[in-house]
């Protein structure tokens, strides 16, 4: 295990673009803190985002993981290129000749994906803890460490998304095309959901029931948007007579779907590699 991770890290360690993008990624996550400093002044009305409760425990876990997950696209570039580079440098072939098995090869990539996800999760946990510690109105231990499911969901979401990227890298062999494929796939998911919802199965639940199984949609559903949960928005909605009765929790079915996709992506990467003549 450690040997495989070591091999992969040796490849990444000296890759300048991978390093730069990873650093940018982590710096951007810390920039979430900057949201706190957003202030408006409408005449007498003074508005400061930090005072709206977005950094209150336990809401901060939900908010930060949701925002940070958007940035995962940066690491996706690193993951996709770390796979497609092996094709373009033809080092995949050389690695196999040198005595790495195809299984070990995929495993070494997957372990790297796990490592990235772990680091990112620990990072977002620390950033949230610090931000919350500074801005939160509630500082009881029990409240601070409630709703930790979002941290778990964040980890699973990253692993699944990176596994998808890895699979695309194996499948398409070219990083630009693989990232293009990713975008096209997202559009395909939206389109097929839209068609089902507003064309074929109008006024039924079928569209939502089917779409929850789409890989990217399932990943997105892991952490639902936290904005409408915010006190200010809730009360605004109440004044308009709207009522949000949304379940913001992490659903087990959803976790299961995402885990199955992750396993499939990794298995398919291996299967493709095994079948291909290099």
């Amino acid at each position: 295990m450690l040997r495989l991770l070591n091999i992969e890290l040796q490849k990444l360690r000296y890759n300048r673009s991978a390093k730069v993008i990873s650093i940018i990624y982590f710096v951007l996550i810390t920039f979430i803190a900057l949201i706190a400093s957003i202030e408006f002044n409408f005449g007498d009305f003074h508005f400061r985002v930090a005072d709206q409760g977005i950094f209150n425990f336990p809401y901060i876990w939900h908010f930060n993981t949701y925002v940070a997950a958007i940035l995962k696209l940066f690491l996706a570039i690193v993951i996709v290129s770390m796979m497609s580079n092996e094709y373009s440098y033809r080092t995949l072939k050389q690695n196999l000749i040198d005595g790495l098995s195809k299984k070990e090869f995929v495993l070494s990539k997957f372990l790297t994906v796990l490592l990235f996800a772990v680091i990112s999760t620990v990072f977002i946990f620390s950033v949230s803890l610090i931000l919350g510690g500074y801005f939160s109105d509630y500082n009881e231990i029990g409240i601070i460490f409630s709703d930790m499911e979002y941290i778990g969901a964040y980890f699973i979401k990253l692993v699944a998304f990176f596994s998808f990227c890895l699979f695309l890298g194996v499948l398409v062999k070219r990083s630009a095309f693989a990232l293009g494929f990713l975008i096209v796939w997202q559009i395909v998911e939206w389109l097929s959901y839209g068609l089902m919802k507003w064309q074929f199965f109008k006024d039924t639940e079928i569209a939502d029931n089917v779409a929850q199984f789409f890989p990217l949609n399932a990943m997105a559903n892991l952490i639902k948007e936290p904005m409408s949960r915010l006190g200010a928005i809730q009360s605004a909605a109440n004044q308009l007579g709207e009522n949000f009765n949304k379940d913001y929790g992490v659903s087990w079915l959803n976790v299961l779907i995402v885990l199955v996709w992750t396993a499939l992506f990794i298995y398919w990467s291996y299967a493709i590699l095994k079948k291909r003549d290099l």
């Binding site: 490849k11 580079n85 033809r90 196999l96």
Partner: protein, 298 residues
């Protein structure tokens, strides 16, 4: 003899094309093998299969005694196929460190092997700055890191300039003299002739010959002769059962031997018949001539 690699009825089809057809041969320890064949004869495909990068269609092969996974066996093998493949953004040393990690050998031999191929002074240069000859030499250093049981080289001098070709050849000779088993695939015959003891000859994926270089042709060689009286010489040769084909080629007569015979014996025999020779050379067909003979379309 200890077998390093045994190939049994190996077949590879790419769609309708059969690249390797029912190929069998074995590699014994300590010999230097050449796989010969025109372009597209299945050399690289065969090597690709035993090196775990191409899937076989049928047949099998086993490394060493057969009790070891292919990928683990490959840790005891050094191989370079086609172009040298390394990470361009890493230096020579960093690339070799990676290979050591994959092969699970210590990194202490890196300097020694870089020295052997004459790249020690460029060890901290990025791979992308290397010339093709340097890249190829780095590939050889990389293949030697584990002191392999067998070194597999596929067209190692392809695309190199004369100086580069010479350097690679010298390195191969040094390695061969150390007793390492070598498998050299090439279509360059003089390359093979200079270093190999055994050959496997392929054409369209079929093995035409597999064995020692000397045993490749049953012929006992041929003589090139010249005399003052060419007519008499030719008659004398044709009248002797020791000689097969006798033909005139320019100013010379070429006679093929039916059984082993020394040039001095021939000289004596002819002298006794009153023929004096002004030119007498005995030699074997070159590998090239034998190869062309064998791979002739028939």
């Amino acid at each position: 003899m200890e077998n390093i690699l045994t190939i049994n009825n190996l077949t590879k089809k790419f769609g309708a094309l059969t690249a390797v057809d029912n190929l069998s041969f074995s590699i014994e320890k300590g010999n230097v093998y050449g796989i010969l064949g025109p372009n597209g004869s299945g050399k690289s495909t065969t090597l690709g299969i035993v090196l775990n990068v191409v899937n076989k269609t049928a047949g099998d092969f086993k490394w060493f005694d057969g009790n070891i996974d292919t990928h683990n066996a490959l840790k005891k093998v050094g191989a370079i196929i086609e172009r040298p493949n390394f990470y361009p953004y890493m230096t020579a040393v960093q690339n070799l460190q990676l290979v050591c990690k994959i092969k699970e050998v210590s990194e202490e031999k890196i300097s020694e092997k870089l020295e052997l191929v004459g790249l020690l002074d460029r060890k901290d240069s990025k791979f992308s700055t290397f010339s093709l000859g340097m890249k190829q030499r780095l590939a050889i250093a990389s293949a030697l890191l584990n002191d392999p049981e067998i070194l597999i080289l596929d067209e190692p001098t392809n695309g190199l300039d004369p100086q580069g070709i010479h350097q690679i050849r010298e390195i191969i000779k040094v390695i061969a003299s150390q007793g390492t088993t070598i498998l050299l695939a090439s279509h360059l015959l003089d390359e093979v002739e200079k270093v190999c003891t055994h050959v496997v000859i392929l054409r369209k994926g079929v093995s035409l010959y597999s064995g020692s270089v000397d045993g490749m042709n049953a012929s006992h060689g041929f003589l090139t002769m010249q005399s003052n009286d060419m007519e008499k010489l030719q008659k004398a040769l044709e009248g002797n059962t020791a000689f097969g084909t006798v033909k005139r080629e320019g100013d010379f007569i070429i006679a093929y031997l039916n059984n082993p015979m020394d040039a001095s014996e021939v000289n004596k025999l002819l002298f006794e018949k009153g023929i004096t020779l002004s030119h007498l050379v005995k030699r074997k067909e070159s590998l090239e001539e034998q190869f062309l003979e064998l791979t002739k379309q028939n």
